[in-house]
Amino acid sequence: MRLEQTLRISAARNPGKTALVAGDVRLSYADLDALSDRLAGALLRRGIERGDRVVVFTDNRWEAVVAIYAIQKAGAVFSPINPSTKADKLGYVLSNCRARAIVTQTNRLTVVADAAKAAPSLELTISAGDGRETETPGLCRFEDLIVEPGPAPRPEEAGIELDLSMLVYTSGSTGNPKGVMMTHQNVLAASTSIVTYLENTADDIILGVLPISFDYGLYQVLMSVQVGATLVLEKSFAFPYAILKRLAEEKVTGFPLVPTMAAMILQMKDVGPEAFAGLRYITNTAAALPASHIARLRELMPGTIVYSMYGLTECKRCTWLPPEQLDIRPGSVGIAIPGTEAFVVGDDGLPVAPGVTGELVIRGPHVMRGYWENPEATDKALKPGPYPWEKVLYTGDLFRADEDGFLYFVARKDDIIKTRGEKVSPKEVEAVLYAMPGIREAAVIGVPDPILGAAIRAVVVAADGAAFTERDVIRHCARNLEDFMVPKTVEIRDALPKTDSGKINRRLVEQQALEVA
């Protein structure tokens, strides 16, 4: 099955049911199906063809959900990009995947116009929302396209389930982001497995506050549509009280979290169990919740099931902890998700004994097909599996298993920092730091933070005669990086520790920073 078919099935089964609530807008399944049909028709009439890449560069708005299904119905591939992405990186992504079109919103048009200079492939810009217009290639208004007369796409022409469904760009340890290729089969294998263990049904009402540019946020849309549930989409968790009010008003039953959000809820002064009375489950991923937070969340939400999970974009989700195990093994991220396998291997690629640390390997229909036009990185992540036609995923995460096969995260093999649930490549931030005049050396590290998990710190050395403040460094980064990648603190040092070969030793920088703290 292809992704857009899940929408067609849910719309046929229960057309009047509310599919999406976003601010004041409520769309039924029939609405979502019809709107995405119309937008798909408009895309096809503008020359979008099967397999073309269309970038979705918006915040959590209803138009983005329509766009995702429209792109699939047109047989094209969608690529969601964080709306705080700056022009340089957006330009890199657009040119890397040779995007034909971009769906965005008016207050991002200047960024798109800037980014488009690096992307000659871009022919069509679709803008949602009100606001000023900027000169961008082939600018159309979203609201015009969804009322444009013309035939809807024919379902059989979109393609088959082996086609590429989406490209999700993820930070790599080498700097430039890599496009994770997921076929329709991959996406639906992952979402089907997840809705199985979460026991999602059409009665669920899921609250999505995580960005849909982030795969955990995106899958809330895909899973909700697949089971015919209702998704309440919110733009952010910046105002927790307002969100918890929404949670009660909309009678939400499922609430996906990252540890930063859990920490923010636990920091609230006047919130009690009554706020979560109807909540069936919460999920957590991106990084483990501290045991103390799990305990306090359960006090706050005594009737709510807590799912602890772990995953990475390259296969969407790896493991889940059956809720009844939470008290027995609070530190574990559990077992492989249904229909897949997860095991720990040594340097020789062979499984290790319980208790021994090794790399986690994932096997299943949810494993990506590789990184977009990057065979070298693909070969590092995907290695031959048990059958000649099969590849398994080397996660780059160090794990150990206990006697019963439950898995425990130990560390990353590379230097990726996890902050606020997002992965940050120190190299990507360092590259931006080196572009700042006056910086001679730079290292980016993560320092423990109660809310963020890890906070990004830039440790820099000034060139001779250069003078800048910590604020200057942060400002420079804020102009060039997504919000979550911008260092929270800057340390200016006289020198950075080096390895024997003269390279900056990031681990030693980190150790010294911790010693000072």
Binding site: S84, N107, S236, A238, F239, Y241, T260, R420, R475, A478
Partner: protein, 96 residues
Amino acid sequence: MRSEIETQIRAYVVENFLFGDDDGTLEPETSLLEMGIVDSTGVLELVMYLETEFGIRMADEEIVPENLDSIRAIARYIASKNDAAEAARPAIAVNG
């Protein structure tokens, strides 16, 4: 009075969230969230600043976009808190 608070809030937002990068596009009614000026941890910092700077305590239910999503909204909220504190003060106030 209100515009004085606005000026002060604007200076704080520019310094802390735009890192001094004031290109003049920040209007009193600009949505701080929509424009990506403030994110979720930014709101926590903003609340801490307002509580310390203006000697108020913000209840959870006051930490909402209506009170915090633009410079004007923040100034209006602070002014209303000040007015409320004024009203609650006894007729003859003893300072210190």
